[in-house]
Amino acid sequence: MNTLILRTVAPALTALMLLFSVFVLLRGHNEPGGGFIGGLIAASALAIYGIAFGVGAVRRALRFHPMAIAGAGLFLATLSGLLSILFGVPFMTGLWVYPRILGLEVPLATVISFDLGVYLVVLGSIVSIALALEQDSETEIPDAEVAQAPPLEQVPLRGKRRRRDRQPRETR
């Protein structure tokens, strides 16, 4: 899949999709969109990058492990719900502030930080699954070996189990 065309287009496409995912995330407050769909878009962007340049490139570009990103998102979402304990309202109540930034009133809420947490959880977990699958197909066995492999039904039940030598993986 890593043709010249894909490798040329992939960085621009990834950047565009990541930007769009943030737009969808922020748009989600009052209109269709939100953290979940935004996270999915961002995860697909990184998956495209991975198809073009390999799993290692995505891991380097992310800097953090995908599961750590998901953990940070979950933590942020939990904190945004828990913040309401300080204000005497039930769990997960939206709290608003209206700061004036550059003369514009910008409404900010724990709803947004919760959605950002969802975005990160989805991004992290989907990317980690996608990378695990892409890594599997990268270290696929050569075609000759596939031809020699016995068809599904004829594998002996408990004798020697066929175990392919795969590279040690760093999934999760």
Partner: protein, 520 residues
């Protein structure tokens, strides 16, 4: 969009406007604590040395929070908190009554014991893989299932605990673990899908998902509503989760494959979540329809406990044997649901509390026996009494508890269930309980005889096996819990009876969710 721009609406009909008392936060804090700690552990995934300490600290806090919640519920009645200020039935409610709070506390104690044991059992590779984050998320799912007051939310917590149990099950990625996980995952997924189907039909009938609201409406439902079908679907889904006959075969196929700590958590907690949901739905929400199905449930219960006990007699592997002991216990709890009188439900609740503690302890015991004796097989284990008399004494106590012999905690729920079954004239159910207990005693006595009492079959070199406090402490702690409840059963008996009474007559529960009465 400032607040002044919106039209003047009377919000008191839709929102909670008074600040909730700080004590009400105890309903959500157990779940929040577990999710937060799990997220934190995922963030610091590199420093595995910290994981154990953070997780144990969080589990200790979980026990404290659940104990405080139980104390508050026993003093003031059910506690409710709604999410995001929206009043029920529109907002999602977390409601803890005596049953839910007591189960949550027992689960937290069992998880703390398993967590301590895991410090010795889970190596650095398992920790890097994410044992502790998965443990935290599993406990979030379990606590959420026990404390939620919304039936769709219950489904969501089922899924949370299911996905973290998948992660725990394949810890190590051995072929036999993957095989066990595949069977477990597919069948449990089908069970939760059945649950979701039932929730969909329930919503179509009642137009609500709040449990208190359902309990009110189900008692006034028109006679042509398909409630018996609905209840049958619920019973099938939860029986599958709880591993009741004839949908129990996934349990002995998978519970012996993961690490022993994981088996202990599953055996202690997961099947009991199924029983909890079964009791909650059939006794509190749909009691009239349960009567129609009581014979089916009773037959399933009797067969579950007999087949569980017979299965335990036929096993060579200690872990598979304990898996069948778990199934036999499920049969006993189902018998309480089948009989359905408050006394019987009290017995089932008591059995569930006892089973959470004892089954966790039994699996941990098998793990320690395998560490000392070097095998899981009854054919090659032996001489454990000579090598470690203290451990043998603890094991003996735990086996007595699991078999239901005095003076341990297993006796009282069986007595309560027997009496309740005889009171309604179901002598054959009572006989099944007795025969199953007798067979279980045989199976467990044989484990003691073969693994502990007889000399080691192949005289190996007697290398001393150092005792480890991280293993001894949780085992001894759980044994002390079951011993104390066996000798001084009064408080727990009263607790479980009160829980059963409030399930049969959920007015206090409904009042807690709708303090001003139900607004139609």
């Amino acid at each position: 969009m400032a607040a002044s721009a919106s039209p003047a609406v009377d919000l008191s009909a839709a929102l909670v406007l008074t600040p909730p008392p700080l004590g009400d936060w105890l309903v959500v804090l157990p779940v929040v604590l577990m999710i937060g700690t799990g997220a934190l552990l995922m963030m610091v995934r590199k420093s595995v040395r910290l994981h154990g300490a953070i997780a144990i600290a969080a589990l200790v806090m979980l026990v404290v929070l659940d104990a405080a919640l139980l104390w508050r519920v026993s003093l003031h009645g059910p506690v409710t908190m709604v999410m995001g200020r929206w009043l029920p039935p529109y907002g999602i409610a977390f409601t803890a009554d005596l049953f839910g709070a007591a189960m949550a506390l027992a689960a937290a104690i069992a998880a703390l014991a398993a967590g301590l044991f895991s410090l010795a059992d889970i190596d650095a590779a398992g920790r890097r893989y994410g044992f502790y984050p998965f443990l935290m998320l599993l406990m979030a799912g379990v606590s959420g299932a026990f404390l939620t007051g919304d039936i769709f939310n219950l489904y969501v917590w089922f899924e949370v605990l299911l996905i973290s149990s998948f992660g725990l099950l394949i810890l190590g990625s051995e072929p036999r673990q993957i095989e066990g996980a595949l069977k477990y995952a597919l069948l449990n997924l089908i069970a939760t899908t059945l649950f979701l189907i039932a929730v969909g039909i329930l919503y179509a009938i009642f137009g609500t998902l709040n449990m208190a609201d359902i309990a009110t409406k189900a008692r006034l439902a028109p006679p042509d509503a398909p409630l018996t079908t609905l209840t049958a679907l619920f019973v099938l889904a939860f029986a599958m989760k709880a591993a009741a006959f004839p949908v129990n075969f996934w349990l002995p196929a998978s519970y012996h494959t993961p690490r022993i700590v994981v088996s202990a958590l599953f055996g202690g907690l997961l099947t009991k979540v199924g029983i909890y949901a079964l009791i909650r739905v059939t006794i509190m929400l749909l009691p009239v329809e349960r009567e129609a199905l009581s014979f089916v449930i009773a037959v399933s219960a009797a067969l579950t406990m007999l087949l569980g006990a017979l299965g335990a007699l036929a096993q060579m592997d200690t872990r598979r044997l304990i898996g069948y002991v778990v199934i036999a216990g499920i049969g006993n709890m189902m018998a309480g649901v089948a009989v359905g009188t408050p006394a019987a439900v009290g017995g089932a609740v008591l059995y569930a509390l006892h089973s959470v503690i004892t089954m966790t302890a039994l699996y941990l015991m098998a793990g320690e026996a395998a560490r000392i004796g070097g095998s899981w097989s009854l054919a090659s284990l032996g001489g454990l009494y000579r090598r470690s008399p203290g451990f043998a004494a603890i094991s003996f106590l735990l086996m007595l508890a699991a078999a239901g012999l005095p003076p341990l905690s297993g006796l009282w729920p069986k007595v309560a269930l027997l009496k309740a079954a005889l009171d309604i004239g179901a002598w054959w159910l009572a006989a099944a309980i007795l025969v199953s207990a007798f067979l279980l005693t045989l199976a467990l006595a044989r484990v003691f005889l073969l693994a502990y009492w007889r000399p080691q079959p192949t005289p190996a070199v007697e290398q001393p096996c150092p005792t480890d406090w991280r293993i001894t402490l949780p085992l001894a702690g759980l044994a002390v819990v079951t011993l104390v409840f066996g000798v001084f059963p009064e408080p727990v008996l009263r607790l479980s009876q009160a829980a059963a009474d409030s399930l049969a007559d959920p007015q206090a529960y409904i009042n807690s969710v709708f303090p001003g009465g139900r607004v139609p």
